[in-house]
């Protein structure tokens, strides 16, 4: 990566651009717990992407599911010669396959909602910081109102108003999240705005759009990366909670939360695996993302650099 970049770009640019990235990478790997988190996260993402390839069974294909096999404990033999390593649910679905597919949906919903919220938050936060005045007051007042209520409450009310469905759940998650980004990017942009390079850009008579997107935005990004990483985990947890309450994704696309909810009624009769293993997958996902975010925060924080 390094030598190739040196061939193409002038030497001065390489030292400017490549070294901070390389420094961040080397700082990141200095913490063994963070590496473990990253490795776990990579494994989870890989499992989610490769779900159709590695799952012993397609949990949506009714032809492959036999109701006779329902609620089998982990390790039971499957009729096709395989083994239900994590047991089966009330429909006779292999839990391991259901978890792989559920991970897919949970991660996709978490990432999509975070990206959309990030874009909205960046746009509003930057606009507030750059233009100031009434616009800033209006945006920040809305942010304040929203952040004074717990996210679960806002999401629930939105679902109650909008109705249920995948798009609506994502809308609710985006609504809950954007305020965090708007607030973070605004405070970062307010600091950056007063710096000399922005003044210089003004003196060059660059257009506001160019100043905001080419100069202000890149310098506000580091804190946003941290917030966005944490928020992916929060979004996944919130989606799971909504699904568990029966107000999330439709039953045709079972996310981890729905799998857990599905096993809830069997928990009392001792059939723990239907709820336990999806919960474990959810937990590992959230913890690994948080570990990575924690280390990113230390690495990207200029105050902690020596």
């Amino acid at each position: 990566m390094g030598p190739q970049a040196a061939d193409v770009a002038p030497v001065a640019r390489v030292t400017d651009n490549a070294s901070p990235l390389r420094r961040i990478a080397s700082d990141f790997v200095a913490n063994p717990i963070a590496i473990a988190g990253l490795a776990l996260l990579a494994l989870i993402i890989a499992a989610a992407i490769a779900a159709p390839l590695i799952s012993p069974q397609n949990p949506y294909d009714l032809a492959q599911i036999d109701i006779v096999d329902s609620k089998l404990p982990p390790g039971s033999a499957a009729p096709n010669g395989g083994t239900y390593w994590l047991g089966t649910d009330d429909q006779g679905r292999d839990m391991l396959s259901a978890i792989f597919y559920g991970l897919r949906i949970s991660l996709a919903v978490g990432v999509i909602s975070t990206v959309v919220a990030l874009i909205i938050g960046l746009a509003t936060g930057l606009a507030a910081a750059y233009f100031g005045g009434r616009l800033e007051q209006l945006i920040m007042r809305i942010v304040d109102i929203q952040l004074s209520f717990p996210s679960i409450l806002i999401a629930l009310i939105l679902i109650a108003v909008l109705g249920q469905g995948t798009g609506k759940v994502i809308t609710a998650l985006v609504t809950v999240q954007w305020a965090y980004y708007a607030r973070t990017v605004r405070s970062a942009a307010l600091v950056e705005k007063r710096k000399e390079y922005i003044e210089a850009a003004h003196c060059l008579a660059l257009s506001p759009a160019r100043i905001v997107f080419r100069h202000l935005l890149p310098n506000c990004l580091p804190p946003m990366i941290v917030v966005a990483t944490v928020q992916v985990a929060a979004a996944i947890a919130l989606e799971a909670t909504l699904s568990f309450l029966g107000l999330g994704l439709p039953i045709t696309e079972p996310s981890l939360g729905l799998l857990i909810a599905n096993g809830y009624q069997y928990l009392l009769s001792g059939k723990y695996w239907i709820s336990f293993f999806p919960g474990l997958a959810l937990l590992l996902t959230i913890v690994s993302i948080n570990l990575v975010a924690d280390q990113l925060r230390d690495v990207l924080n200029p105050r902690l650099q020596k």
């Binding site: 007042r141 109102i145 004074s148 209520f149 717990p150 679960i152 409450l153 629930l156 009310i157 939105l158 679902i159 109650a160 108003v161 909008l162 109705g163 985990a233 947890a237 799971a240 909670t241 568990f244 309450l245 029966g246 107000l247 857990i260 809830y264 928990l267 009392l268 001792g270 723990y272 709820s275 336990f276 919960g279 959810l282 937990l283 959230i286 913890v287 948080n290 924690d294």
Partner: protein, 307 residues
């Protein structure tokens, strides 16, 4: 603050939900629509709702056919009891552990406590609830997994905490709800204690020859208590909101469970009433915390009287 209420009502006042049983014939349908006031235009409905609010009436539940506000008030003691119990658990566990971790930041215990608090933030509440049920109700069989158990009436309000059986029912949901706040209080107390120990007044107290217990128990604790009390106050609102999840897991008959049931049944007046009640809660809590803050922190009090 009045804006909060307005935004909330406006957001929920907008939609028109279809409530009628799909098997009902056209005549039944129209009669039901008229009875519920859904035949009027939206602004009319909103107006009649507003005039009701002025008279202290938040509408009638579509499903239960009683006053929506009455339904919520009926469920409120259960939720409040749960929230108070959870806060108590969080304070009793969180502050001492946080203090311990703050005093010995590099010790094994301190590190373990901090790692545990990260877990407290990461674990999804509802899954922890399920695991608590699994371990304590199903495997060990020590505690009941759902409901409130027998209640004792105090001034006409049913409460659980006066009977042993009630305590047994309360323990698991309260622990579940407390978990996040235990982690929060640990982090807050640790950060406060960590910072306070480096201050001059602590060195001075030590130099005077005061015992360690007195330095920490009186001087340090008193100073770090201000932000902690603020957060406890503000978190109380969050506890009531998060009780929605815990109540659903443990089938606790509180406001949150009522909300979930109402959303599933599209019982709009109850949803609106719940929202109004909880917004009022948040406003009152914020106000109380502000007052408490000025009482606790002489700097705030003096600067206000000075201007």
């Amino acid at each position: 603050m009045s804006l909060l209420v307005f935004v909330g009502v406006y957001a929920v006042g907008n939609p028109i939900d279809i409530l009628i049983n799909p098997q009902a014939d056209q005549e039944d349908r129209e009669r039901a629509i008229a009875a519920l006031g859904l035949d009027k235009t939206l602004p009319m409905q909103y107006l009649s709702f507003l005039s009701g609010v002025v008279h202290g009436d938040l509408g009638r539940s579509f499903v239960h056919a009683t006053s929506a506000l009455g339904l919520i008030l009926e469920r409120m003691p259960a939720t409040l009891e749960l929230a108070f119990a959870a806060m108590l658990i969080a304070i009793v566990i969180g502050i001492p552990l946080g203090l311990w971790a703050g005093l010995r930041p590099n010790g094994v215990a301190g590190r373990t406590i901090m790692a545990g608090s990260i877990l407290g933030f990461s674990l999804p509440t509802f899954w922890v609830g399920l695991m608590l049920i699994m371990v304590f109700s199903v495997i060990l069989g020590w505690l009941p997994s759902n409901g409130r158990g027998p209640t004792v009436d105090v001034l006409g309000i049913p409460v659980s905490f006066l009977s042993f059986e009630g305590w047994r029912h309360l323990l698991l949901p309260a622990t579940n709800l407390a978990l996040f706040n235990v982690a929060l209080l640990i982090r807050l107390t640790r950060a406060g204690a960590h910072e306070a120990l480096l201050q001059d007044y602590v060195k001075f107290a030590r130099a005077k020859g005061l015992t360690n217990v007195r330095v920490i128990g009186v001087h340090v604790l008193r100073n770090i208590l201000i932000p902690i009390v603020t957060v406890i106050g503000l978190q109380f609102g969050a506890l009531i909101a998060f009780a929605i999840v815990t109540e659903s897991v443990f089938a606790w008959p509180g406001m949150g469970k009522l909300l979930i049931d109402s959303i599933n049944l599209l019982d709009r007046p109850v949803i609106v009433a719940y929202l109004l009640v909880i917004v009022t809660f948040f406003i009152v809590i914020n106000l109380l915390v502000d007052i408490l803050y000025s009482l606790l922190d002489p700097r705030v009090r003096l600067s206000e009287s000075g201007t």
